[in-house]
Amino acid sequence: MAKNVEYKSSDAAVAVVEYRDISKRFGTSVVLDEINLSLYPGRVMALMGENGAGKSTMLSILAGLLAPSQGAIVVDGEEITEYSPSAGQASGIEIVTQELSLVPHLTVANNIFLGRELTQGARTGGFLKSSRMTQEAQAAIDEFDIPIAADDRIEQISLSYAQIVEIIRAWHRRPRVLLLDEPTSSLTRNETRHLFEIVRRLRDAGTSVVFTTHKMDEVEQMADDIAVLRDGKITLTAPIERLSSNEIISAMVGRELAEQQLDLPPIKETDPVLSVSNYATRQTSEGHEGVFDFSVRPGEIVGLAGIAGSGRTAFFKSVYGLHTARTGDVKLARQPYTKRSPSNSLKRGLIYIPENRKEAGLVLSLDIAQNTILSNLARFTGPGGWIRRGQEENVSREALESLHTKYFGARTPVAALSGGNQQKAMVARCLIADDPQVLLLDEPTRGIDVGAKADIYAIIVDLARHGIAIVVSSSELPELMTLSHRIAVFRDGAICQSLERDAFDEKEIVRAAIGA
């Protein structure tokens, strides 16, 4: 059992908020079990734990998105009585949720001011001061140095910018307590750096910040204190100076994780199974077409690096057949593949796992088993179109368990899974695909805890060993460097450089990705 140090950040400090004996149950499953924790002004706390440990639930209760089943939140020494988002905001608590909470059809400025509109006259009937809000929002955006405009609509900007907009929104309200639920999971390094600068500034101004992450280096950079959750209980709280990362990890998983050595299988010396030539997904900003060639052989793992918006997702989607490419030819197993569509791709063993699990990956209203086998229903369908439910359950359970997914029964809806476990359900889907040839994985480990990441790497390598070609994009360079035979770097919609494993060089890849 990990140690549990009771401490105060400084003797003079008084907690801004406290969790007092908080428990949370969903039906019969206990998600939080008598949590006690204090947050102090001017401190940044990293909340760590495996997928499904209860981190998001903890933050949601503090922000008033969920009410606890037992216990109470104490603000400034007083138990609060009402759990609602507006009550949370009234106490100065702002949250950036793990899944985006923005209104897609509204502009960035409208979203930043949502619920806090500047008006003249009466509160609800009053007229909005639109231009004032746009100006202020633009000023806030400029602090983060990202190329979006305050009057862009959310649906027009990329996922990572949308994530930043959420952070800007919370920050703009000058909270006393700022809760960030995996804020960096869709950010690039540069954006992460900006975020951390802002967090430091807030902290120095006395804000109490809590963030969750699965990345150890971020914890070391950013946190003053650590709290670790395991199965709904706090297993460790301590200032960061007193901890080693091994201690943190063992408090998270309850065991020491063996240092992982990936043994990449040899690439089959055959023709590529997937190749594209003269390919372009979009017009580059200068107006010329950035065409490129790309291929992957059976058993090969190719990593795609690049900054957010560099065109990796567009590449995947156009090859898979979700969108049309601007120009170029695709060959799959030496046959030209022109009529590209998801169902044709699946028939030919080309599988794509999208980065945005909510939007493109999972059917939230269906249960876990149904989602896992969704693309392979034919295999589980008997004569007359009847689905073999028993088989469906067994196979999906097997796939989910090989990823250590935490869930309460194969028949619970996917919406009730924690973020990281939803991601696992998506990966599980491709594990049970029929005779896969090529896997396109877009950020497969986003939001996945350290232990499960290792599982996913092992599974990817294993699939490669069986002769499957794998193309994986990730915003984490170290991950790509451990996992890939070769890394292709995307910039402005095209591949601008390609490196073999023995020539991997982090600096060079970053330079290629940003075009410096």
Binding site: S101, L106, T119, F127, A139, D142, A149, G309
Partner: protein, 335 residues
């Protein structure tokens, strides 16, 4: 600061020139307008009476009732719901107004009748709002229920009879005109202006869009979701009530079934005008455009002596076509 601002804006939109102006969204609504023109222009040449002042007024008169319920429906759809009870409310409001005026002449009673009719609509709207926002009943089901309830009350109150109206002040509403334009047309435009301002310029309007666009996000942002939903349904109820009153004045009677089937037009108009049935996207001007389109087509077909039976078929195709153009316009683009 301001230079930094423009720089950022410029970076985000490299080609905000030609291609942006003719983005697909604009193009599609352009297509609807062109199709509309292709219908109106030849018709005006063949049948000049089609664009006579008199005919334009009669088109506007015809659509003033549709427009009011279309506006209300538009607000509900923007908030992410749907209101099927509007047609029944039209009938109920007419009956209530007619009952109030039975044997009561004079402008005072006319005013009370108007208020009574609108109030009946507000009550039904309130019921809808409570069912949806507080009891979490899906809007489709809740308003299907109130459709029947309102119709039933209309029958009960009128005893299944048509209640004729003799109050001259009330009947004057649809006869009297200022500068040659009948009062209902002024009412339609006044309501339009009010709603347009509310939706685009006020906090309530912004919340309607937010709740319809992403209710989870609205929740996290701490918006008063229930109040917003109830307001949307009450607006719809009140406007349907007003429409019922105007219609009663036109047909000089309160009849429980006058509005039956109007929900089709009420829903079609905003949708044709680009308000998304998924909620959160579109403008109330779209609802106005939608009713104008439907009204003009009906009127034109009448002038061309096309049987009303065919008119239904044609309207149906037009609704599907317009919505198809809308989906083409909003197809997701590449990330």
């Amino acid at each position: 600061m301001s230079t930094a601002h423009t720089e950022t804006a410029a970076r985000s939109r490299p080609q905000k020139t030609f291609s942006a102006l003719f983005s697909r969204a604009r193009l599609a609504s352009l297509v609807v307008w062109i199709a509309f023109a292709c219908y109106v222009v030849p018709l005006a040449i063949v049948e000049p009476q089609f664009i006579s002042f008199y005919n334009i007024i009669s088109i506007l008169m015809l659509i003033s009732v549709y427009a009011l319920i279309g506006f209300g429906e538009g607000v509900v759809v923007l908030s992410g719901g749907i209101d099927l009870s509007v047609g029944s409310v039209v009938g109920l409001a007419g009956v209530v107004a007619a009952l109030i005026m039975q044997g009561n002449t004079g402008i005072g009673w006319a005013l009370i009748a108007i208020v009574g009719g609108v109030f009946a609509g507000i009550v039904i709207g309130m019921l809808n709002g409570i069912a949806v926002a507080l009891l979490n009943i899906p809007a489709f089901v809740a308003t299907l229920g109130t459709l029947s309830i309102a119709l039933g009350f209309g029958y009960v109150l009128s005893n299944g009879q048509q209640i004729s109206i003799n109050n001259m002040a009330f009947l004057d509403i649809s006869v009297y005109s200022w500068f040659g334009i009948p009062i209902p047309i002024y009412i339609m435009f006044a309501v339009f202006l009010l709603l347009w301002l509310t939706l685009s310029r006020t906090r309530l309007g912004r919340y309607v869009y937010a709740v319809g666009g992403n209710i989870q996000a609205a929740f996290v942002a701490g918006l008063p979701i229930r109040r917003v939903l109830i307001s949307a349904f009450v607006i719809s109820g009140a406007l349907s009530g007003l429409a019922g009153v105007l219609l009663a004045s036109q047909i000089t009677a309160g009849i429980a079934t006058t509005g039956t089937g109007y929900e089709l037009i009420a829903i079609a108009a905003p949708v044709i005008g680009g308000i998304s049935l998924a909620g959160g996207r579109g403008s109330i001007a779209g609802a106005l455009f939608g009713v104008i389109l439907l009204g003009t087509i009906d009127n034109g077909l009448t002038i061309l002596n096309v049987s009303p039976f065919y008119q239904h078929i044609i309207s149906g195709f037009i609704i599907i076509l317009a919505v198809y153009l809308d989906t083409v316009a909003n197809r997701r683009k590449l990330v």
